[in-house]
């Protein structure tokens, strides 16, 4: 959850390799927040997801300024309220 950017240099552009819900994702964008990552992953109801970043839960009110870095492991854990 640090602000240190460490994307790999590739032909002028920088890419970031992360793992979301156990699957690798390669992102073109170097500076990325949790909010942006939710958008990229088409999570249309961010209020219905808890985000775990490298084993620590990100605070919902800080999604917009929590930085994603190269090598991060992210879990989107959805609220599921059904049972009947």
């Amino acid at each position: 959850m640090t602000l240190v950017g460490c994307g790999n240099d590739t032909k002028g552009g920088k890419e970031v390799k992360i793992v979301v819900n156990g699957k690798e994702q390669v992102l073109e964008q170097e500076k990325l927040t949790v909010t942006e990552l939710l958008e990229i992953n088409k999570v249309d109801m961010p209020d219905m997801v808890s985000v775990q970043l490298n084993g620590e839960f990100a605070k919902r009110e800080e999604f917009a300024r929590t930085q994603i870095n190269d090598g991060d492991e992210i879990d989107f854990l959805y609220f599921m309220g059904g049972g009947k």
Binding site: N21, M48, Q52, G55, F57, F79, M80, G81, G83, K84
Partner: protein, 269 residues
């Protein structure tokens, strides 16, 4: 405990298991479990726990059986329409296994009654269908140091984790109920019937493992499955220092009834 010949026969497939044996079966038969909700999750959990011979099974539900329930709530049959769910469930559980003592609570859980209901039980199964109840069960179990199994289903997906005192709780992962307007209404969401069976039986297996004390419970892990693609994943979770109930600076210090737009029977799918 002396097993009758009938019991030795009935439970032989448990007793033959190395991790269960006579001792494990005895622990199951001395166990007291409370199932909150006699619906999609509660139905399979109740059936398997009764079949397993759990000594006392409490079941809580304020509803009557509705036709829309029959697509997945396998403990209720068509002739049970309009019957209180707890009565319908009790009949089936006793029919499967007369050894089991079934205690019924024809009511919903609220902040003012939940502690009185859970206090007599060793383990609680969350089979409810709304966030206020799920958070209330968590909070009551954390305050009263009761282990419980969280379960949630939606469309083709399911999730479950097991809380034991001192380990990660439901709020460690989900903090607080989502805003009402973000929750898809029951009629929008829907659920594949068999999903309820998949999740409810995982919860039942956790209860049995808890009683026999073998293996690893789903503590500090959230099991998530997507039955549409049939993928299962276990996300490690840990006790969260920012958890509003078990964290370093708790803000939840008493039980409250959270608000939620309740689906009426007609819109319930």
């Amino acid at each position: 405990m002396k097993f009758t010949d009938e019991q030795l026969e009935r439970y032989s497939r448990h007793i033959i298991l190395q991790n269960v044996g006579v001792t494990g079966q005895e622990k199951i038969m001395n166990g007291k479990v409370l199932i909150i909700g006699a619906g999609g999750l509660g139905a399979p959990a109740a059936l398997y726990l009764a079949a397993a011979g759990v000594g006392t099974i409490g079941i809580v539900d304020g509803d009557v059986v509705d036709r829309t329930n029959l697509q997945r709530q396998v403990i209720h049959f068509t002739p049970d329409l309009n019957k209180p769910k707890v009565e319908s469930a009790k009949e089936k559980m006793e029919a499967i296994n007369p050894d089991v003592k079934v205690v019924t609570y024809k009511e919903l859980v609220f902040a003012n009654n939940i502690e009185g209901i859970i206090k007599d039980y060793d383990f609680i199964v969350d089979g409810t269908d709304n966030f206020p109840a799920k958070f209330l069960i968590n909070d009551a179990c954390v305050f009263n140091k009761k282990p419980f199994s969280h379960g949630g289903i939606l469309r083709f997906d399911g999730q479950t984790m097991t809380y034991v005192p001192g380990e990660a709780c439901y709020r460690c992962v989900f903090n607080s109920p989502p805003p009402k307007d973000a929750v898809p209404t029951c009629s929008q969401a829907g659920v594949l019937g068999a999903i309820a069976g998949m999740l409810g039986t995982i919860q039942a297996a956790e209860v049995l493992k808890f009683f026999i004390g073998e293996g690893e419970l789903l503590t500090n892990r959230l099991l998530v499955f997507d039955a549409l693609n049939m993928t299962f994943r276990t996300a490690p979770v840990k006790k969260n220092p920012n958890c509003p109930i078990c964290g370093d600076n708790p803000t939840v210090t008493e039980l409250v009834d959270a608000e939620q737009a309740m689906c009426d029977l007609r819109s319930r799918m």
